[in-house]
């Protein structure tokens, strides 16, 4: 075993005998493009609404709930698809999230939420995962589209303007602190129902 490793290492270290430097350089460059391109393409395929809703767990539960909301259909025709909110846009964070998502593949294989009942039982913890993630990154995925700087509160309703002035602009709260349950139904809020931590608005 050790000898095999040593021999391979020796081959790697030895200059090439048959292939020219140009061939190896350009060949390596071209293969790099092919592999990196392929990797990135595959990654982006997993970042589409069609991919997310190809599982019944997503298409029958959360996707159906998204449909009547303003993030799916609205006056200006801009749609936030699943990855817009659930996957960071920046590369390194995206890869980190994708690695976490391998646990979701595990869940898919072993059917953690493969029935409506199982999904409803898990709904609170699933939602809390997302709430915690968005609280931790200061609602990054919201702010990919909605920024406080470009928010014209004079065009908002008085109560929305006041709430944003008091809590958003001061940094006291982040988007998700109040805007829970805007794209999917809320889980059983139990005692949290009467807590002031969540205020609704579209």
């Amino acid at each position: 075993m050790l000898r095999l490793i040593k021999r391979t290492w020796g081959i790697i270290l030895r200059p090439s005998v048959h292939y020219s430097l140009g061939f190896l350089t350009f060949g390596g460059f071209l293969m790099g493009i092919v592999f990196w391109g392929g990797f990135n393409t595959a990654l982006e395929v997993t970042n589409t609404e069609a991919f997310c809703t190809s599982c019944h767990e997503m298409s029958d539960n959360v996707f159906e709930e998204l449909k009547p909301t303003i993030h799916y259909s609205n006056r200006s025709g801009v749609r936030a698809t699943c990855p817009d909110c659930h996957v960071p846009h920046e590369w390194s964070s995206k890869i980190a999230r994708k690695m976490q998502a391998s646990k979701e593949v595990w869940g898919k294989i072993f059917g953690t939420i493969n029935t409506r009942e199982k999904f409803l039982n898990h709904r609170l913890s699933l939602a809390q995962n997302e709430w915690a993630r968005l609280e931790a990154n200061n609602s990054l995925e919201c702010r990919n589209c909605h920024s406080a700087e470009s928010m014209d509160i004079t065009r908002q309703s008085p109560r929305a303007a006041e709430a944003h002035e008091r809590f958003l602009f001061t940094g006291e709260k982040t988007c998700i602190s109040c805007h829970k349950g805007i794209a999917h139904e809320l889980p059983n809020m139990g005692q949290a129902l009467l807590s002031p931590s969540a205020v609704h608005g579209n």
């Binding site: 009547p68 909301t69 303003i70 309703s157 008085p158 109560r159 006041e162 709430a163 809590f167 349950g181 805007i182 139904e185 809320l186 889980p187 059983n188 809020m189 129902l193 009467l194 807590s195 002031p196 969540a198 205020v199 609704h200 579209n202």
Partner: protein
Amino acid sequence: MIMKRLKNSAHIAALVLATLAPAGVAMAQETIATLRAGTPLAENAAPHAIAPVRNTDLRQVRNYPEQPPLIPHKTDGYQIDLNANQCLLCHSRTAIEISQAPMVSITHFMNRDNQFLASVTPRRYFCTQCHVPQAEARPLLENGFVDIDQVLEYVSGQEGN
């Protein structure tokens, strides 16, 4: 004997109906104002544009003291079900300091035996059963409602005469 009399009266009724019916139908078509606005029954009228919801956040007048207050804002997509009540996220006792919204009335904490519970009772849980937002739309039918002040004014006016 009785049977025969019944039969006769049935005949008469049929005769009366037969003579009156065409006139009645014509009259109904002319005089009964319906929300269909003259569209024949078998056809669908072009729907009205959906009226925008009044979103002023200004409290509206109550037409009588017991009237459930109107909702002065949009409530699109508010979830009110077994899991969550999004109205209470602002209007509950504990939320109003942050939201500055009016708290649900204390009567909503009373059960049917007039005992105050810790939170909103199940029978008062579904807000939109009584509280509704208002649309910026002309009423389809005119409403002749007058409130008690106008009634009193009218009565005192009559007494004055």
